[in-house]
C-alpha cells in the first residue's frame, strides 16, 4: 500500500463526492426502502379513505344513518344501510374478549414473574410461544368443531351454537398470548427494589403484587390489553367461522351476531365491485382503519404515562 505522499493534505483530506461512491449508493438504497414504507402507509390510508367515502359521496348514503341505524336491508326494494349492529358486534367481541383475556393474561404474567419464574421459563414461556404460532383459521376451525356444538348442547338459549359468546371465547384464546407476553415484559422490567422494599416492610406477596407491583406496571399492563383488543378487533376469519353472521342486533350473549370484519369477509365476494352494496363494505373497512388509528393513539398515550 503506497503512501500518498505525492498528494497534498488538501487533495487527500477534503471531502469530495468522487471519493465515497459506495456510501452515497448505500444511503440512497436504504432511504428508498424507508420511502417505500412511507408510500405504502400513505397510499393505504389515502386509497381506503377515498374508496370508503364513496358510498356517502357517490351513492349519497347518509353517514349518520350508516353509523347509527340498525337496519341493514341491502336487498329490499327500499335498501337500508345501517351498520350499527356490526359496529356494536365488533366492539362487543373486542371488549368481552379483553375482559376474559386481560385478567388471565396478566395473572399468567404474574405467575411467571412473581410466583414461579422457573416453571414460567420452562413451561409457560414455550406454551405461550406455541399459542402465538397457531394460525387464526385454526382457532376458528377448532371453535367451529368443538365450541359451537358444545354451546348448542349446553345452553338452551342457543339454537345453533353460533353466538357472540362463541366468538368471544375464540378471540380470548387468540389474544391471550399477546396479552401475556407484553404483560410479562412489563412485570419483569419492574426493579427488584420495589419487591424487596415492600416485602421488607412485612407485606405479603399478594399485598406486594396488589399494592406495589400492579400499580407500578399499570400503564404497561393496559398497553398489553389494548394491543390484545386491537388484534381481536381486526380478526376476521376466526370470528366469521363461529359468530353466526346475522344482521340483527344480538339480544344476548347466546344470540348469533356479526362484526365489521365478518360482514366484509362474507360479502366482498358476493357483491359487484362499484355497487352501493360493495361500497358500504369499503366504508366498513375505513371504520376498521380509523379504529386502528385510535388504538395506536391509546397505546401512545399509555406509553407516555409509563413510569418504568
Amino acid at each position: 500500500m503506497e503512501k500518498q505522499t505525492t498528494l497534498s493534505a488538501k487533495q487527500r483530506l477534503i471531502r469530495s463526492s468522487s471519493k465515497n461512491p459506495g456510501e452515497t449508493r448505500g444511503k440512497i438504497l436504504v432511504s428508498l426502502c424507508a420511502l417505500i414504507i412511507i408510500i405504502a402507509t400513505l397510499s393505504i390510508t389515502l386509497f381506503l379513505a377515498i374508496k370508503g367515502l364513496q358510498s356517502f359521496i357517490v351513492n349519497g348514503l347518509n353517514p349518520l344513518e350508516f353509523l347509527f341505524s340498525s337496519e341493514w336491508n341491502p336487498t329490499s326494494s327500499d335498501p337500508q344501510y345501517g351498520a350499527l349492529p356490526f359496529i356494536l358486534g365488533s366492539l362487543a367481541v373486542t371488549l368481552l374478549s379483553a375482559l376474559i383475556a386481560g385478567p388471565l393474561g396478566i395473572g399468567c404474567a404474574i405467575f411467571m414473574t412473581e410466583i414461579s419464574t422457573s416453571i414460567g421459563k420452562k413451561v409457560l414461556q414455550p406454551v405461550i410461544e406455541l399459542l402465538v404460532g397457531i394460525p387464526s383459521v385454526v382457532y376458528g376451525f377448532i371453535g367451529l368443531t368443538v365450541l359451537v356444538p358444545f354451546i348448542r348442547n349446553t345452553f338452551s338459549g342457543s339454537a345453533t351454537g353460533f353466538s357472540l359468546l362463541t366468538g368471544t371465547i375464540v378471540l380470548s384464546v387468540m389474544i391471550l398470548p399477546t396479552v401475556t407476553t407484553i404483560a410479562t415484559d412489563a412485570m419483569s422490567s419492574l426493579p427488584n427494589s420495589l419487591r424487596e422494599g415492600s416485602l421488607a416492610l412485612g407485606a405479603t406477596r399478594w399485598q406486594t403484587i396488589k399494592k406495589v407491583l400492579i400499580p407500578a406496571a399499570l400503564p404497561s399492563l393496559m398497553t398489553a390489553i389494548v394491543l390484545g383488543m386491537a388484534r381481536a378487533f381486526g380478526e376476521a376469519l376466526a370470528v366469521q367461522m363461529v359468530i353466526g353472521n346475522v344482521r340483527d342486533l344480538p339480544g344476548s350473549l347466546l344470540d348469533p351476531s356479526a362484526t365489521l370484519t365478518t360482514i366484509i369477509t362474507l360479502n366482498m365476494g358476493y357483491t359487484t365491485y362499484g355497487s352501493v352494496d360493495n361500497n358500504t363494505l369499503w366504508s366498513m373497512g375505513l371504520i376498521l382503519l380509523i379504529i386502528s388509528f385510535i388504538f395506536i393513539l391509546i397505546i401512545r398515550y399509555l406509553s407516555a404515562r409509563r413510569k418504568i
Binding site: 500500500m1 488538501k10 483530506l13 477534503i14 471519493k19
Partner: protein, 275 residues
C-alpha cells in the same frame, strides 16, 4: 524473544530510512483553543498544545478529565456521538481536521486508533487485517499476504500466529488480540496512532509486551497514548500532558513532568494523592 526483536527491528529499519530526511522536531498536530461539548456539558475546555512528529505523547489525568474525549476528536470518532460538537481547531498538515469539509474516512485512515478493549472483528486473523485493505481496493493474494505479514511483524505478533492465520481472532489471548488490533491499524500505514489506554484491560505480561511494542513503533509513527498507568507514561513517552477537569494543567517533557512538575496538582496526581 531476542530473535523476534531483531526481526522487528530490521523490518522497521527499511521504512524508517525514508523518513529520516524529515526534520525530527517537525510539528504534526497543533491544537488551538479546542473545546469539546457533549450537549451542554463541556468536556474539553480551551486546550492548546502541539505534538511533534515521531514522538510519543502521553495524556494522563483522572477519569473523566477529557483526555479520551480529546483523543477521539483527533480522528473524528466523536462524530458518532450525535450530541457532541466542538470549537477551536486541530491543525494537521495545514488543515483544520475539525472542519466540516474534511473527509473523515480518509482522515481516519491516516490517523489510526486502537481502543481500550481489544475489539477484533469476528473473522479470521488474516481477514482482520485485510478487512480495511479490501475496502481500499487492494487485491491480489501475494500483495495482501505481504501486508499481513509486515503488519503482524511490526505488531510483534507474526511468530505467534503465522501458522494459524485462518483461525478466528477470538481464539487469541487478550494481549494478542490487542496486538492484532494494532497490526490491522498499522496495515493502513497511518501517520499518527491514537492509543486509548491500550493495555489497561490486559494482564501484566501482555501489558509489558504492548509497552515494548509502542516504544518500537515510535520510529515510524507519531503516537498519542492515553493512560492511567503512571509508570507506563514515564517509561514510554517523550512528552506528557496532564489533564484535569477538561483543561491541560501542565504539558512538558515527560522527564520534567515526573521529576520536577511546576504545578502542584500535577505533583499530587503523579504521586498518587488523588485520581
Amino acid at each position: 524473544m531476542g530473535m523476534l526483536k531483531e526481526k522487528v527491528d530490521k523490518s522497521k529499519q527499511k521504512t524508517s530510512d525514508k523518513k529520516e530526511e524529515k526534520d525530527q522536531s517537525e510539528l504534526i498536530l497543533r491544537v488551538n483553543d479546542l473545546s469539546i461539548y457533549y450537549g451542554s456539558n463541556q468536556a474539553v475546555k480551551n486546550i492548546s498544545f502541539d505534538i511533534e512528529k515521531n514522538s510519543i505523547t502521553a495524556l494522563i489525568g483522572p477519569s473523566g478529565c477529557g483526555k479520551s474525549t480529546f483523543l477521539r476528536s483527533v480522528n473524528r470518532m466523536n462524530d458518532l456521538i450525535p450530541i457532541s460538537h466542538n470549537q477551536g481547531e486541530i491543525i494537521y498538515e495545514d488543515l483544520n481536521i475539525l472542519d466540516k469539509n474534511i473527509d473523515v474516512i480518509a482522515l481516519r485512515k491516516e490517523i489510526g486508533m486502537v481502543f481500550q478493549k481489544p475489539n477484533p472483528f469476528p473473522k479470521s486473523i488474516y481477514n482482520n487485517i485485510t478487512h480495511a485493505l479490501r475496502f481500499y481496493g487492494i487485491k491480489g493474494k501475494k500483495r495482501l499476504d505481504a501486508i499481513v505479514e509486515e503488519s503482524l511483524r511490526k505488531a510483534a505478533l507474526w511468530d505467534e500466529v503465522k501458522d494459524r492465520l485462518d483461525q478466528s481472532a477470538f481464539a487469541l489471548s487478550g494481549g494478542q488480540q490487542q496486538r492484532l488490533c494494532i497490526a490491522r491499524t498499522l496495515a493502513m500505514q497511518p501517520n499518527i496512532l491514537l492509543l486509548d489506554e491500550p493495555a489497561s484491560a490486559l494482564d501484566p505480561v501482555s501489558n509489558a509486551k504492548i509497552e515494548e511494542l509502542i516504544f518500537e513503533l515510535k520510529k515510524d509513527y507519531t503516537i498519542v497514548i492515553v493512560t492511567h498507568n503512571m509508570q507506563q507514561a514515564s517509561r514510554v513517552s517523550d512528552k506528557t500532558a496532564f489533564f484535569l477537569n477538561g483543561r491541560i494543567v501542565e504539558y512538558d517533557d515527560t522527564e520534567t513532568i515526573f521529576t520536577n512538575p511546576s504545578v502542584k496538582e500535577t505533583e499530587d496526581y503523579i504521586s498518587g494523592r488523588f485520581g
